[in-house]
Amino acid sequence: MMKRIFLLFGLLSIVSNGFSQKDNNLISFKTDSDIIYGICFTNKGKALGIADNNTIKVYSTDSRELLNEFKNGHENQVLSIDISQDSTILVSGGKDSTIVIWDLVNNKILSSLSNQKGIITSVQISPDGNYLVSGGTDNNAYLYDLEKSEVIQVFSDHTDDITSVKFSPDGKLIATASGDKIINIYEVKSFKLIGSLTGHRSWVRDISFSKDGTKLISCGDDSRIITWNISDIYKIRKQNAKKVGLDWLLSIDFHKDKGTYAYGGMNGEIKIVTPIGSYILKIARPIQKILFNPQRIYLKVAVATRGNGVIMTDTRNMKWKDFSKFR
């Protein structure tokens, strides 16, 4: 009996030892919460917005100084934020089912929108700054006229939570990702559903357009990364699909350079994939959001984590894996 008990405890100690966590020394931003869901860069990448509980903080990416703080707009956790291309407007949405439009320059609320019933999981401002798109747990995507703060169209084609909404770089298309495993593409001008992309086998968590607008990349709980060719919007086709590991992939972002993207997920691994190889960094905390810094010095990403706040890293801190070795 005693022998068996010792064997059980021995086994448990060996297993637990195998899972000891490691933390790296990375550039981090001072936030109240260690769990951050939403981040966004200004157009030039000089400032980084962070959704820290129900407050939005804007930091300088170079000095990591707090530049501005946007308070009293939300009653609960903010899940998604975005800054307009001209860096004058900030939008935020979250658990309180409210979208707040902020004057980024004068730090005041321009309007507070409560049209959505569920939690707001994703918001984005169109590249021309005229529209706002949002999605959430009521399964609908909402297109707003940003200046009038009015809903101009509700897209009700999804049957499960909307996890991510994105405008194409030219602002003509909207892509919505959902828990129903489908990505829908809408035309902004006509509000028409152009295509429903099926290929994921579980929740789609994030999507990103390539900067030239010819590709869309998606990731999800099925650990798959799918690249879609959307150069002809009426003949959208799956260009490439690959399964990377077993964990949920929560965020993905295309870099300006064609073919380079970054992703992360529940296993705490940041991966920047280039056409010739990939950079990897393990931070042992789930990655909620990953974004390339638009400043084009190195491949540099900001990462919102579940447990480590927001960190920034570039490829110099990351392990290189050359694809040519496997050819």
Partner: protein, 233 residues
């Protein structure tokens, strides 16, 4: 044989766990299936006194208990799961000095227990990032099948056709409580250990025990299904 299996399973789990990287966050899931190997002992007096007679206890002198259990739990609250536990146990190796009534006898017990589990959540940091503690309680009802190896008494008059009972199927009922620690290996698989205490009432024609208490130590594998997709909102 059992020892060899246990050693092989231990070795496989050790190698497997070593080869895995740490996952940053384990998601609480909606449905868990627990499969467990159990060893245990009976507790209580070895002698039972009834109507001025003293008998050796059947259950409390059985030295070996082992078996398996299969449990299905559905998480319907952040810290509470409900489900059903099916336990199959066998007890043998009856020993009591100076007595041989139940030598070589075996008991097979099949029971079912609606279970409520109170559990912690997987946290973002520290040991509970991968570990979860739980307490379970539930009523139990089951069937205890006794097979004697020798008749309990001799029939002197060989002319009378008397069938000597060698088997007895008795219903028992009681309470089961478990405490345990589960350890997530991946999002899909985990291992766990439990300590269980069972208290049951039983009546039978072939023995005088009317209650028995047992404690069990178990090790098992958890298979996790139906993840909580909205884990962060």
């Amino acid at each position: 044989m059992k020892n060899s299996i246990l050693k092989i399973v231990t070795l496989i789990i050790c190698i497997y766990s070593r080869s895995l990287d740490c996952e940053a966050q384990v998601i609480d899931n909606k449905v868990n299936i627990y499969a467990e190997y159990i060893i245990g002992i009976f507790h209580g007096k070895e002698l039972i006194e009834e109507k001025n007679f003293i008998y050796p206890s059947l259950y409390n002198n059985l030295k070996d208990i082992d078996g398996i259990s299969l449990k299905w739990l559905y998480k319907n609250h952040q810290h509470i799961s409900l489900g059903i536990n099916v336990i199959l146990l066998q007890a043998s190796n009856w020993e009591y000095t100076g007595h041989s009534e139940y030598h070589g006898s075996k008991i097979k017990m099949q029971s079912i227990s609606p279970t409520i589990q109170f559990h912690s959540k997987f946290s973002e940091t520290n040991i509970f990032n991968r570990g979860r503690v739980f307490i379970e309680i539930g009523p139990t009802v089951g069937l205890s099948k006794l097979t004697l190896s020798n008749p309990l008494f001799d029939i002197q008059n060989e002319k009378d056709a008397v069938s000597i009972p060698m088997k007895s199927n008795d219903i028992f009922y009681g309470l089961t409580g478990n405490v345990g620690l589960e350890w997530a290996i991946t999002q899909l698989i985990g291992i766990y250990i439990t300590y269980s205490l069972q208290f049951n009432w039983v009546t039978s024609k072939l023995y005088n025990d009317n209650q028995f208490t047992s404690s069990q130590l178990g090790i098992g594998i958890i298979m996790k299904f139906k993840k909580d997709k909205r884990y962060f909102y």
